[in-house]
């Protein structure tokens, strides 16, 4: 039990916090129910994919500043390809866009490895490159999305033999998120490759000496991040029906969620569940403040303050545990 607590303590605390916030929301707004939860899941979706992408890179010991730009690029690519095309054609577009995301991420990773320039500088430069590429694909918001793709995000999942009272609380957006992340992350984390991602993140020299191919691992981690970012880009196109070449506020939000989710900058620690819960917490705080009719600008202050206080407490705990 204590081992379980120690390993998953942070994530469990986040779950408790999320539950507490849901109850609080119910108190503030008695009408808040399944519909509200559904729209929360839809609003959180692109943020969740951005946070997932950032998590993988931070675990391997890097940081990716180009995530929002990659999302913009994949989003406009999808919107442009689906513009005026048939519904069936979209079935081809989805894997193509995911492949593009994978390649973009792999390019980021390869450049980090080849140039030996610090991750933060490489991805800073690539932020401009991907943003420029997005502007070349579409220089103003436009394009279209297939109807069946849009429908994937709206409504709830119907499962036979389970009363709708329960299925009402399972929005399609949430299922989509869990399936998409799970299909990639669970096999990866269980594999040798996943283990080497953590090994490289915690000590790349030690990993190298134990025979891990550090360069290949880094490229794979960045490629997976690119894949998650392209999922985020697709979701953006699906929810808005168009593609916008200017990156949204996903970079800052992804870093905030990663930190709040218990993934330490520097690498080697954490998982995917924490940051995803953190995304939902941050979105819910935003919803609550809206319900309380607080100036939406104050919300930004609250978000920043939560982030700063959490990392300060984290730093304090770290210092305590280090000193005897």
């Amino acid at each position: 039990m204590s081992r379980l607590l120690r390993r998953h303590g942070w994530v469990m605390a986040l779950f408790v916090l999320l539950g507490f916030l849901l109850v609080l929301t119910r108190v503030i707004q008695p009408d808040y129910g399944a519909a509200g939860f559904g729209s929360l899941a839809r609003a959180a979706l692109p943020f969740a994919f951005a946070a997932a992408a950032q998590t993988v890179v931070v675990i391997v010991g890097g940081v990716d500043l180009s995530i929002a730009s990659m999302m913009a690029l994949t989003s406009v690519t999808a919107a442009r390809l689906m513009d005026g095309a048939s519904e069936e054609f979209a079935i081809l577009v989805v894997p193509l866009v995911l492949l593009i995301g994978l390649v973009l991420g792999a390019i980021n990773g390869a450049l980090v490895v080849i140039t030996r320039v610090p991750d933060i500088v490489v991805t800073l430069a690539m932020l401009f490159v991907w943003e420029g590429a997005a502007l070349l694909v579409l220089n103003a918001p436009g394009g279209a999305a297939a109807e069946w793709l849009k429908a994937l995000l709206v409504g709830t999942v119907a499962i036979p033999f389970i009363p709708t009272m329960i299925t009402d609380w399972i929005p399609k957006a949430l299922v989509l998120l869990i399936v998409c992340l799970g299909v990639v992350w669970i096999p990866l984390q269980r594999s040798r490759l996943g283990l080497s991602v953590y090994a490289v993140g915690s000590d790349s020299l030690a990993a190298f000496r134990s025979g891990v191919d550090v360069n290949r691992t880094k490229i794979v981690a960045y490629a997976v991040a690119g894949l998650f970012a392209s999922m985020g880009g697709l979701v953006l196109t699906m929810s808005t029906g168009i593609g916008a070449p200017i990156p949204g506020p996903y970079l800052l939000a992804s870093v905030a969620a990663v930190v709040l989710g218990g993934v330490t900058l520097g690498g080697g620690v954490g998982g995917l569940v924490g940051p995803i819960i953190a995304v939902f917490i941050l979105r819910l705080v935003r919803t609550d403040l809206t319900f309380l009719a607080i100036d939406p600008n104050v919300t930004t202050i609250v978000e920043g303050t939560i982030m700063v206080i959490v990392v300060m407490l984290g730093g304090l705990v770290m210092m305590r545990s280090r000193s005897p």
Partner: protein, 312 residues
């Protein structure tokens, strides 16, 4: 040859700057004249001042991602306060939030051991929110730019931009301060080996707090100069300068891991970025291509830099 370049990183950088200017002159003969040089310097100075914040913090292994919003806040607060106060008072008021954010950064990084990237990012979120809330309280007051700042930001005397009056002493102070004073050496020491510096009796937290307050102060001043140049205070005035300011410091040879670099290189880096922007504008490519080239050139220069200066 390699060791020669390693010891004098300014030489390849200056060669690159000259090459860019030559390329510009070849593409558009006659463009490089006195007026153009003055304009380039004018636009490079606010960038170089923000890049000073990055250089100083990077020397200790940190980074300050809040400078963009700090500069914007001080510019906006000054422009709105000057309608009811004396310009000097308005400037003094506007620098208070700048240094407060710097102080909070310093406390987080120095006392609580928070990663500078996250701490300054969080403070920039808070700063953005505060600025938006502040904007709603002054929505009716309007804004103005005092003549002095407009003179400083845009004016020219004897063909040279007036902002040099502020910038040259400031740059000299930073360059000499880093080389000759105890505080400067402490920054290098902390960045080179944090643990060793602490063991030799450096009170690291005091140095870090002073450093980030200084960084906030410099960013505030940069914002005031920049609003004198742009003349239109907005809620995102200097925010687009944030990433180029990091790029300028990195191109200028300051290591993001700390302990190596200097401000002279950063100034050349800021000039290179400004000339590069002009060059890309003149090529009349689509906006997308320009951004891509901008990113690729930053990457290429830093990669070349790493190859040249690499130890071993």
């Amino acid at each position: 040859m390699k060791s020669f370049l390693r010891d004098r990183p300014l030489i390849p950088l200056t060669i690159l700057l000259i090459a860019l200017i030559v390329a510009l002159e070849l593409l558009r003969p006659g463009i490089v004249n006195e007026r153009w040089i003055a304009n380039t310097i004018k636009f490079a100075i606010p960038l170089a001042m923000l890049a000073a914040c990055q250089t100083l913090t990077m020397l200790t292994g940190g980074i300050d991602l809040s400078v963009g919003i700090i500069a914007t806040i001080s510019a906006f607060v000054m422009a709105t306060q000057v309608t009811t106060h004396d310009p000097a008072v308005a400037i003094a008021i506007s620098l208070v939030p700048a240094m407060m954010i710097g102080l909070a950064n310093g406390i987080g990084v120095g006392l609580f051991g928070v990663h500078p990237l996250i701490m300054t990012l969080g403070m920039s979120l808070i700063g953005t929110g505060c600025l938006q809330v502040y904007q709603r309280t002054v929505i009716a007051t309007g804004s103005a730019i005092p003549d002095f700042l407009a003179w400083l930001g845009t004016g020219r005397s004897y063909g040279l931009p007036n902002s040099l009056v502020l910038f040259v002493p400031l740059a000299a102070l930073i360059i000499l301060g880093l080389r000759r004073t105890g505080f400067g050496r402490l920054l290098y020491a902390l960045g080179d080996n944090h643990h060793a510096a602490r063991l030799s009796g450096v009170l690291a937290w005091q140095v870090i707090i002073a450093l980030y307050v200084l960084s906030g102060f410099l960013a505030g001043i940069a914002g005031l100069v920049y609003v004198g140049l742009i003349k239109a205070p907005s809620l995102s005035l200097a925010v687009p300068l944030l990433l180029p300011s990091v790029a300028a410091a990195v191109i200028g040879g300051t290591s993001i891991f700390g302990g190596r670099g200097g401000y002279a290189g950063t100034i050349v880096g800021a000039l290179i970025l400004t000339v590069l922007t002009t060059l890309l504008t003149i090529l009349q490519m689509p906006e997308g291509f320009r951004r891509m080239l901008f990113g690729l050139i930053i990457l290429a220069v830093t990669a070349a830099y790493v190859r040249i200066t690499e130890e071993r």
